[in-house]
């Protein structure tokens, strides 16, 4: 029997990721909750990796959150997705990249449905034509934006200013990577490393000098649950599931959590604030919580971008402890300064969770 190391099991799940010429589909949640993140991604793709990326003003939501909340039919989401593909065709692109993990699941599921139920493709073509006059051809290549950063992780490492290392001890930072459920749980073959051993974020951590943490609830959902978070009455579901993950990871003392899904990033950041205020619990020794970053934000830090131009001050859990551990040169005074040096004042401090 071949002795395969568990940490290398991801190698059996590979996927094709186009080299260049990307049509970029934005994420509703990432744009609104972490507004700098997609701008960082575009800067990295264009300025560091010299890729051609089209940011289309005509694109809209994919309706994924509405679909998973049960308020729009599948036919509606299929046709909105078909419109996005038509826009990609009109712009002259074949490679579709999306920023949202819910969207990635939606696009993947729809392409698979059209393959297995060809009548649904025909029906969608008719619906799109009737509604908008548009026609479409599905993309040649469909990936999530974290796949692109994974693909070019070595190039980013070569340009890196900082490593994921504790500068005072020389030890790798201990990092929890959380993969959004719809990245690979629906179609494991569409994710790097599959559903059990996803490596899309792990590859970045390994390449940039950090250490991946394993913990029992590593693959548990962040707790979004669509209607379970969106309705206030159900929100206990969301915080309880996120808490389950924190309780499971805390003894491993992570320095940082990263996620490829904007929703997961949000919940793992904000529920730490809520758990601190409700139960008086924080998941680090000093009472500041564990910083949570998106993968673009992490790449930006490694590349030496200014943390405050990268929007890291809009996380509720302060990232300053991480900046200090990595010995990143930054000006704490700039954290609450707007464009042209305008003093924006400070956010109110939470009651329990400490902030810098």
């Amino acid at each position: 029997m071949t002795n395969i190391k568990k940490s290398n099991l991801w190698l059996s799940y590979q996927k094709e990721i186009a080299d260049d010429h990307y049509y970029f589909a934005r994420s509703c949640i990432r744009q609104n909750f972490f507004p700098a993140a997609e701008e960082i991604l575009l800067k990295i793709l264009k300025d560091e990796l010299h890729k051609d990326v089209y940011d289309d003003p005509l694109q809209t939501t994919c309706t994924g959150i509405a679909y998973h909340s049960g308020i729009v039919p599948m036919e509606t989401t299929m046709t909105v997705v078909a419109r996005q593909f038509a826009l990609m065709n009109e712009a002259g692109y074949e490679n579709f990249i999306c920023s949202c993990v819910t969207s990635f699941g939606i696009y993947t599921e729809i392409l698979e449905t059209w393959k297995h139920f060809p009548e649904t493709l025909e029906k969608t073509k008719t619906a799109l034509k009737n509604a908008t006059g548009k026609e479409f051809i599905p993309p040649k290549n469909l990936v999530h934006t974290s796949d692109i950063i994974f693909k070019y992780r070595k190039e980013i490492a070569q340009k890196a200013t900082y490593k994921l290392v504790n500068a005072s001890t020389g030890e790798p930072l201990k990092i929890v990577e959380h993969i959004g459920c719809h990245y690979a749980k629906i179609f494991p073959s569409k994710g790097i490393g599959g559903a059990e051993y996803p490596y899309v974020l792990g590859g970045m951590i390994d390449e940039w000098g950090g250490e991946r943490l394993d913990y029992p609830e590593r693959r548990h959902c962040c707790g979004f649950g669509f209607r379970q978070y969106l309705i206030k009455a159900n929100r206990g579901y969301s915080v309880a599931n996120t808490k389950k993950k924190f309780e499971s990871m805390k003894d491993y003392k992570p320095d940082l959590i990263i996620a490829n899904c904007p929703g997961c990033t949000f919940f793992m950041d904000r529920w730490q604030y809520v758990i601190a205020e409700m139960d008086g619990i924080t998941y680090d020794d000093a009472g500041y919580g564990i910083p949570v970053l998106t993968f673009e934000e992490l790449a930006a830090l490694v590349l030496g971008y200014d943390p405050w131009d990268s929007g890291l001050q809009v996380h509720q859990v302060s990232v300053d402890s991480l900046l200090k551990k990595m010995n990143i040169k930054y000006n704490p005074e700039d954290k609450f300064i707007g464009k042209n040096g305008k003093d924006l004042g400070r956010p109110e401090s939470p009651g329990v969770l400490k902030v810098f």
């Binding site: 509703c28 949640i29 744009q31 507004p35 701008e39 940011d55 289309d56 003003p57 005509l58 694109q59 809209t60 994924g64 959150i65 909340s69 049960g70 308020i71 729009v72 039919p73 599948m74 036919e75 509606t76 299929m78 046709t79 909105v80 419109r83 509604a131 908008t132 459920c181 719809h182 749980k185 629906i186 494991p188 959902c221 707790g223 979004f224 649950g225 669509f226 209607r227 379970q228 969106l230 309705i231 206030k232 009455a233 159900n234 579901y237 309880a240 599931n241 389950k244 904000r270 604030y273 929007g311 001050q313 509720q316 707007g338 464009k339 305008k342 924006l344 109110e348 401090s349 939470p350």
Partner: protein, 233 residues
């Protein structure tokens, strides 16, 4: 008239989601909803494959079909290629179609989802939009969200986004032509009809419950379904 099982069988999610379920319980073991609610996807699958009309109608009127978080962890793990999450999607769609959703507390919440996510899509072109999110409805956003919203114009410039401006870029205004395309797609593919059904059945239910309903979020019925956990009181 078609029976419930026949109607469910017209939904592709149902066809994909239900093969012969052996009731092993793997889905329940992995399910985040089962760890929180009194919920068991295995039981749902068992009822559905029993084809018992009475039980199926009861299911469409029950809270249990609204507990799933659609993480779809069940799709990965089922040893027989079933997807309880897809079956739930089909049950929810039929419950809405037939107006049974208003018979359960969790089902009634569909009106709030329509008025938040659904209306935002047609108004802004986004599922969620900064201008609609406040810390009264979403207190977990925390003080940093109030600070971000207060300073959004300056921060948007600093971050290089295009908040509430025309053209490309993050948080931009979605053009009228794109919004019109969305509306026409909603009309063509049944979303507009579904929205109307959610509104109509909810209005009837509010009246039955002696709760004042109206448009938008500032009315007694909306607050009742959005905030309340009646069973836990």
């Amino acid at each position: 008239m078609k029976n419930i099982f026949e109607m469910l069988s017209e939904d592709i999610r149902f066809i994909e989601g239900l093969n012969a379920c052996i009731n092993c319980g793997t889905c329940t073991a992995i399910c985040p909803a089962a760890g929180f609610y009194d919920y068991n996807p295995k039981t749902i699958m068992n009822i559905v494959q029993s084809r018992d009309e009475e039980q199926l109608i009861e299911l469409l009127k029950a809270d249990s079909i609204w507990y799933c978080g659609e993480c779809l962890s069940c799709k990965t793990r089922c040893p027989r290629n079933n997807t309880p999450g897809y079956v739930i999607q089909a049950l929810r769609a039929l419950s809405t179609e037939l107006g049974y959703f208003v018979e359960s507390e969790k089902g009634r919440q569909q009106l709030a989802l329509k008025r938040m996510i659904g209306d935002d899509i047609l108004k802004y072109g986004y599922c969620v939009h900064t201008d609609e999110i406040n810390t009264e409805m979403f207190p977990e956003q925390g003080p940093v969200w109030n600070w971000l919203k207060k300073n959004i114009a300056s921060l948007s410039e600093k971050f290089g986004t295009n908040y509430n401006k025309k053209g490309a870029g993050g948080m931009r205004i979605i053009s009228d032509s794109s919004l019109q395309d969305l509306k026409k797609i909603f009309d063509e593919t049944g979303a507009t009809e579904r929205f109307e059904k959610i509104e109509r059945f909810s209005k009837q239910k509010a009246s039955e419950m002696n709760l004042k309903s109206g448009e938008g979020k500032q009315n007694e019925y909306f607050k009742f379904i959005y905030d309340g956990n009646q069973k836990e009181k």
